[in-house]
Symmetry: D2
Subunit: 343 residues, 4 copies
């Protein structure tokens, strides 16, 4: 059994990691840390885990993190970058589910996250953990930055179009919608059910932290400047992201369905739906899968892609486990073969 | 008191009309018809109306529709066009909340609604009931086609941009989201709470009936061909529409906020929010108001507008009463001065 | 115009008071205080009030509370008791929407609320603001304790049964369910939509603060000891309380429907539904009304009452305005004649 | 591999059976019938099953039901009783998830379900499929009546109290609440999201079909007459039942927690929570488990139990698979070891 640690186990991505890993046949959860809740039993905080997990949260200091084969950081932004260098030096592999290592440029990081980066030297080494794009590099990496939830849904929809030069990269638009769990499990007025239930809104139109993250990868894929507009929205539901993508078609004769079918033919965690489909977030509830459909309305100048994921699974903990499987030489799909809970 | 009739009072737009009109100081609900539920007391079907309305649904045949000053049709598409000519001939004014009179071209109607139009001669006369665009014509009209819910939210967001030539009309995009009441109150598997709760999806990407309706008005406003893409989505909530609009800016120096403030300065039912705002559908729950905000993300090439309405009020029954007030020479805001129910 | 002040205007009961009072024809909102948000415009925090209210939150010190005819406290428990004596001395009438003056016994208050009462001498004078029980006393009162939300729904269901001695007071059970707004508008993990959406639970079974409040009134009504069990539950919705009440029938020949019809015949804010009805919380959404139905399943030994209110209106702000109308000699129904927003 | 058939696979219990069985290591889904949707691919109707199930719905006539080891009926009430005798005669074991075989008395069946029973002779043989009560008999049965969803949650809460004579069986009350999926997947106005969202109500107070079913088992357990009141409620969520049970304690010195711990010590699918707990329906979302807690408020005369299940799993399909495992000699927990999806 491989030994796995989780730093920061009391948020939604942390508890989701525990849910997935405690059923994983090849790993053992050696320690789960929480500074605020050390000494509390994990299944007391998350009663869905009663009977499945029997450990307590420990402080990061007491946890044998250096003895782990791999450690996940499910901490708030700006925490992992303080602890990662020491763990890497001890030979531990790292997957960070926060944003600390997602942006290659430390100045850009500071601009969007408001804090000085603590280990900019690692930013050249770190691999962006989107297996459908970087599988080989992930397999060799010591340090993987797990993508944000919106970026996963958006990038999987744009990549086939950009790689095949089917669209003009100057006018890419992603209109994305997320359930409330994307905002995390922390005390807040804004995310009360009384404030978010039975209502819908856009937010972050002037600028959202996932915009530079997505833009960076779009430009890496196209190897050129990209014009990209991103508007996130808040949906009165718990799990799920849907991203509707718009891009101008450059080649009128291209078979859009074929482009997606070919690009993802061997991807276990991307499901290209039949022509005419409209994916629903419940079709991926609780599982590590992106389901998407491609359309060209009225045979017009724009391609429209609708892409759905569970923000906590393919958008966070599930994708992290997928990356772990790759990094540790396990079968990529191990522990990730569930069926979406519908209805 | 003016005499008002409602044909088809058992759906969501019908019951919303009753809710508004029974508090209107200048009108009296003379008759409310329902073929299927005639003889049933209105407040038995809609107990929220107990103590406010004391009539029974009657059959269209028994109802004194010809003695009304104005009749609303809140019937399924394709019903009003059979009865409107006779009522007009009797001197009754008509507001149709269905789609029968929204498209000027009967061939287009047949293409999208699948049935032959029964009174194409009225299509030249009918006025499209968006008061912010057609107030004067509505005041003189015998027959008004009340706009669809999506078209109201989308058009109010695009009109100032198009009239001021601030955007390029070749690449207009509306990514719109609606609560489930937009689908009406009729037996269905698709709209069960078990099917629509806790999930989000796009639908109608290949083509939705509100697309030609919006396009027709956009082209009328610009007096030219328009490239317009429309993707509706279903939100797990009951009331509310949010439309996020995208358009390429033509004039970099234009003051977008000013354009909207000026255009809607005297409009009682459009509220232009301060710069940086993100309207929420709950801010207009239950009231006849469009609240919208205009953005230019990253000072880039696109303008983004977020526009919200209550689909049953400004998107249907409230706008119909606004039209009624104009047609009958009443103060336009009469009976429409409520406060949104938040939370 | 009468002058009204609100202390603590940023919570759900405070904003609901503003929503109702700003449409009230006989009063003027002189000041709305908030220590944390003074200087903020009210309609910036509650955009549904844009166009209806144009004041700013002020500090309690700056607000001309002593010049008001009546002041509402919509503060957390334990705040009003510090400020009420001084305002009463200045001749201001008071309605407290918190719990400070609901329990007659200061020792009981300390036991349930954990703090020493600051003005126990007022506890003999204060009137419990349930107009259906204490209308006359409310009309003469300087200080009214507005009932809790659960107590309102439960008491209105039990009072006719107890007054008529139709049930045995030794085994009264109230199984009550509330939407999330009952927990208030304050930062919290427990009340996040991610924690409360799509789930249902009982809470407070060992003891809830509304239990002694209800028990006190039940014993006052019966003038004897009462055996009362109360279990509250949390419903994944925003507004609304339903209470299902159970009690053993003492008189087999009694006409239960008649008891309720007679008791509430002249009550404008209690609607006894026809036999066989099942009230829904949406039937009272946004309005000051209790709708209830009485049943005797299988003609058996128990009476079952189902009673619904909007917890923020008849369960808080609406009832407070009803009390204000009575205290200030206005028509009791003024400003409270809305129609429930359904759907 | 054992061969399994499902008659009626397009409802919520049918699709839930498929979700569980397609991951079961010892069985093979030989046929899934649907008269209305024969020829449709299963994963076209339930896209969450894409990649897991690859069959089509067939007509009951075409399906090789007689060659199955066991057939589940997930049909509307009144269908199974027409087909079961012939399949039993062919040596096929049967689990009926509908109500056809739940009531032992055919007259009672007719009274509550309105149709004459077609095979009353089987009502003496059939075993009520609550494994925690009837495990041994289920192991020997040819025909099992899978319990209703409410009965499962209610009975598991009452059985320990009744078996230990801790309560007086004359005044048992179950106040139960269910998500909307309990009403099934069929076209309906009442169950639209527009009608059930953001609202809560009691229903069926005069009498609900699960009342005689529960009463029958309560009387069988106590071997005497039982006084039982049952009020179901509808919760605006999809999955989950919570039942709050009330009963008068007969023995003041009894250790209620101990009674439950002992009774369910070896039950894999009942989780007795620590004292003071309040189970939430999300703690069992998607899994075959009843979680419950026992309370005695204010050390008073009543015991209160709160019991939660997922109505589609322990309340339907999961319990059916548990019964299948017992009937076919498999390990009882096979295929039923998931973790609840929280949040």
């Amino acid at each position: 059994m491989l030994h796995i640690g989780i730093v920061g186990g009391t948020g939604y991505t942390g508890s989701e990691l525990i849910r997935i890993l405690c059923k994983h046949p090849n790993v053992e959860l050696t320690c789960i840390t929480s500074r605020g809740d050390s000494g509390t039993s994990v299944n007391n905080m998350f009663p869905n885990l009663r009977g499945h997990v029997d450990t307590m949260f420990s402080t990061p200091e007491d946890a044998p993190l250096k003895e782990c084969d791999l450690v996940f950081f499910a901490t708030p932004n700006g925490v992992a970058m303080h602890q990662v260098p020491e763990l890497l030096a001890a030979g531990v592999k790292i997957i960070d589910l926060a944003a600390d290592f997602r942006l290659k440029d430390p100045a850009l990081w500071k601009q969007w996250y408001g804090i000085e980066h603590q280990c900019p030297e690692l930013l050249t080494e770190v691999v962006y953990g989107l297996p459908e794009l970087n599988r080989e590099a992930i397999g060799k990496a010591r340090l993987v930055a797990n993508p944000g939830c919106y970026p996963t849904a958006v990038l999987l929809g744009f990549i086939p179009l950009l790689e095949s030069r089917a669209v003009n990269q100057d006018f890419l638009i992603a209109d994305a919608k997320s359930g409330v769990s994307g905002a995390g499990r922390k005390a807040s007025v804004t995310m009360l059910m009384g404030e978010t239930g039975e209502s819908f809104k856009a937010y972050g139109i002037p600028g959202h932290r996932h915009w530079p993250e997505i833009l960076q990868i779009l430009q890496q894929v196209t190897d050129t400047q990209v014009g990209f507009t991103f508007v996130p929205h808040l949906v009165p539901m718990i799990r799920g992201i849907e991203a509707t993508l718009y891009a101008p078609i450059t080649n009128q004769n291209i078979d859009l369905q074929e482009i997606f079918m070919t690009r993802y033919a061997n991807e276990p965690f991307v499901d290209v739906l039949p022509p005419g489909s409209h994916p629903e977030t419940r079709w991926v509830r609780g599982i590590n899968l992106c389901r998407l459909a491609v359309h060209r309305p009225h045979n017009g100048p724009l391609v429209v892609v609708s892409s759905v994921i569970d923000n906590l699974v393919k958008g966070a903990a599930g994708q992290a486990v997928q990356n772990m499987n790759i990094m540790l030489g396990l079968k990529e799909t191990t522990g990730l073969d569930g069926i979406a809970l519908q209805p």
